[in-house]
Amino acid sequence: MITLLALFFACAPKAPPAPAVVEAAPAPVDLLGPRPEVGPEVPFALPTPEATRLSNGAGVWVVPAPALPLVTVTLSVPGGASVDAAGKEGTAAIGDRLLTQGAGKLDARAFAAAVEELGVQLDVETGRAASTITMSFTKDKMGPALDLLADMVLRPKLTAVDFAREKGILVSDLRMGQDEPVAVAAKVAWVQWFGAGHPYSRSPDGTVKGMEAVTFKDAKAYHKLAWNAAGATFTAAGAITKDEIATALESRLGKPWKAGQAAVVKLPPVPAHTAESGGTPIVLVDKPGSSQTMFYLVFDGPAFGDPALAPVKSGTVVLGGTFTSRLNGLLREKKAYTYGVRAGVQALPGAGVRTITTRIRTDVTAEAMTDLLGELTAIRAGVTPEEVTKARAAYRQDLVEAMESRSGMAGTFAPYHRAGLDVGALAVELGAMQAVTPEQVKPAMAAYDPAKAVIVLVGDKAVIQAPLAKAGFDKIVVVEPL
């Protein structure tokens, strides 16, 4: 090599006279050195909740985590928006909302003061298929905090004055939501997918018209229907033992809380979504002047607890779950059409969907739609082993991070408990995710078929309609926000 180099230099124009012996210039030393090898994975022991039951049959799961004097308790009952009557979407939402507006001997103001003077973080969430109260507090406040929880469940005030005030706030909130592209798209998309009248078509927070129609009697009826001990599940984590929390709950929400009939609805079949020949239909909500177009795509997905969930989750991470996912790689990092894309799975009892959401610069709406659907075609052809490995690692790490907070632990295990699964169900899912193969993922990606999707856009119709039509998306149905 030295000889060859010497010849080269000797022949080069304007080269200095060749020295008698030419040494090759040493290659610059890279002081950083090569990228280090990644070592073996460090084992992760997912905690297993300890389980017991109260005398009324309510299940209790506990994940002891004594390092900090903090406790989170969640209480779920079946119901949620799925039991809202047609035309009264929002009944469960306001029914749950009233739980925080006075209970026991305390009126609404006194109740709020009592909760906050304890430093309790209180959240009441109305879901599509359940209502959930989450309370987090320092350990020394557990007794009075659980007293308040019991009052909410057993002795809510439910007054007409509080109902009228809270309904006004919620209606205003829903009206504000009509300016939020994400909220608008989600409400329309779920109705389009499940069909009006299906229990899962109903948005957890309701609709403007639905909430306006809810009466005080309806809200009280939701409380009676949903908030009984049948099907109730407690999931707790923090500086407590199983016996401690079971004893504390039994005296407050065990014997005193009667089990009735759980508010479980029968799910009709999801309508078939098969596009007629000649193009992919799009549902559009016009938002004049919008600088971006909101995309919300819905596809068939597995129900909660379905063994098919693991390969679906894996493929969804590959498609749109991380920065290097296929959709982010294309629409954000290559085309700069968006700030980000997200693909997700929403698994509910008995049914589920996959969603893809993004906000695209208005002037490239049609191009982005073509690219996005092209990527769906590609993923239906399969994923690589490297991509599956990435999804496996992301799932595992997400679980590790969830286990660092009490609210994370309780929130992670609660859906499995609510679904009636075993305390080891999450560990089983973790194992399944770790064992997923590309061969399993490929058939699970078949659902990402645009011909079987619901596609909702929220954007400036005057600007995007013609380019969409030109790109072949000429079947556009315009609807109003809900």
Binding site: G33, E41, E116, Y339, R406
Partner: protein
């Protein structure tokens, strides 16, 4: 009445070891073996306040460019490598600093460190116009999504100029204008990198499940060879105490008017900052807070939020309330000012102080749960107070706050004549 906390001793400290490399890189190590995960958190002392005229948004745009690859790890390699093993990353830019972090399993720690060192040393020479063009587009999409198409988002674009005189480091938004983002050049990127992305302008926190003795040689190996450079002198603008305008009116595609009130308040960690954080909580945290009761329960507002937003050259105290239908912005503002005026004259009650104490205690303890939050907190303490060893003092400033102190801070800083307003009204055919 004092705010007395009864926290366990172990919860009042984030154990750490701090040292500097010869090139000025500050290193903070925080071991925690409770879960198999690590965090690398690197804090560069450069933010939007360091942008030159005509380049608003540049510090944040640069943050995006930090993920665009180097010669050693080109393309999207930074993300690809870590995601392959369960790592994730992100970053955020504010007025005073830019913070990058990675979270993942312990076997990725040396990779995280190597990749951060690689881009600290070599990002600039691998920069291209194409990379700049892509990330400029992504950032402009972020601006559209977060401000332009977000209901009431346009209000926040008005705030810097409302509060600060032209030329002040805080007189423009972190996100920047489209015009300035378009003007950013490749040379700007290279200059910004060589000026600010140097080890003597950075602080590295390693947190989680690792062995300090094993990681120190790695840090020395990866970062020790990176040359330091003198940092430019930073301006020391005069403290601003009054808004530049009393009011800015904007319209947006919204249903109800919104009133946003702003006051200049003491800088982060300066005297009065803690009291004003507690005042914000007293006024706006939870349904028993004074403004929630007066405005939301009182039927004037749909929602209300109150915040003491701390920054290095001076903070802002913010009250934001969205009106119920039929309520005018003036009426809403009058109701807000009435509550603030009352607090300025009469200290909070004992039950209110008990509420603040317990809310603070829960918030403080729950904040210690997240490894990433602890790592970031160590860097923030160091950046703002000169030492990561500040947790006990931080607690003390909240512990020491009194009811009288809260009233006094309100009277001193939240004067009616010093408020600036951004009022958002629903767009009408005439205002479009």
């Amino acid at each position: 009445m004092l705010l007395l906390l009864a926290l366990p001793a172990f919860a009042q400290d984030i154990p750490f070891e701090r040292y500097d490399l010869p090139n000025g890189l500050q290193v903070i190590l925080h071991e925690d073996h409770s879960l198999p995960q690590v965090v690398v958190d690197i804090w560069y002392q450069v933010g939007s306040k360091d942008e030159v005229a005509g380049r608003s948004g540049f510090a944040h745009l640069f943050e995006h460019l930090m993920f665009m690859g180097t010669d050693r790890l080109p393309g999207s390699g930074f993300d690809q490598v870590m995601e392959a093993y369960g790592g994730s990353n992100n970053a955020w830019t504010m007025e005073d600093a830019t913070n990058y972090f990675e979270v993942g399993p312990p076997n990725l720690l040396s990779t995280f460190l190597w990749m951060e060192a690689d881009r600290m040393e070599a990002l600039g020479k691998a920069m291209t116009d194409d990379k700049l063009k892509i990330q400029r587009g992504v950032v402009q999409n972020e601006r559209r999504q977060s401000y332009e198409d977000e209901p009431y988002g346009v209000a926040w674009l008005e705030v810097p100029a409302l509060l600060y005189p032209a030329g002040h480091p805080y007189a423009h938004t972190v996100i920047g204008t489209h015009e300035d983002l378009e003007a950013a050049s490749l040379q700007d990127v290279k200059d910004f990198f060589s000026t600010w992305y140097v080890p003597n302008n950075a602080s590295l926190v390693v947190a989680g499940d690792f062995d300090s003795a094993a990681v120190k040689p790695l840090i020395e190996k990866y970062f020790g060879h990176i040359a330091s450079r003198p940092l430019p002198a930073r301006p020391s603008p005069a403290v601003v105490t009054a808004p530049q305008k009393a009011r800015v009116d904007v319209t947006d595609q919204v249903q109800f008017p919104q009133v946003n009130l702003f006051w200049h308040t003491p800088a982060s960690y300066a005297q009065g900052d803690a009291e004003l954080q507690l005042v914000a909580s007293l006024l706006g945290e939870g349904e028993s807070s004074r403004l929630y009761e007066a405005l939301v329960v009182g039927g004037l507002a749909q929602e209300v939020a109150v915040l003491q937003s701390p920054t290095q050259l001076g903070s802002a105290f913010i009250v934001s309330a969205t009106a119920m239908e039929g309520v005018t912005p003036d009426r809403l503002e009058a109701a807000i000012m009435k509550e603030i005026g009352a607090l300025a004259k009469q200290p909070p009650t004992a039950p209110e102080m008990a509420r603040l104490k317990n809310q603070f205690e829960y918030g403080f303890l729950s904040g210690l749960e997240s490894l990433l939050q602890r790592a970031t907190q160590l860097n923030e303490y160091d950046a703002y107070t000169g030492s990561p060893d500040y947790l006990a003092k931080d607690l003390a400033r909240f512990r020491g706050a009194t009811a009288e102190g809260l009233a006094s801070a309100t009277a001193t800083w939240l004067k009616p004549e010093l408020v600036g307003r951004v009022v958002v009204r629903p767009e009408t055919p005439e205002t479009k």
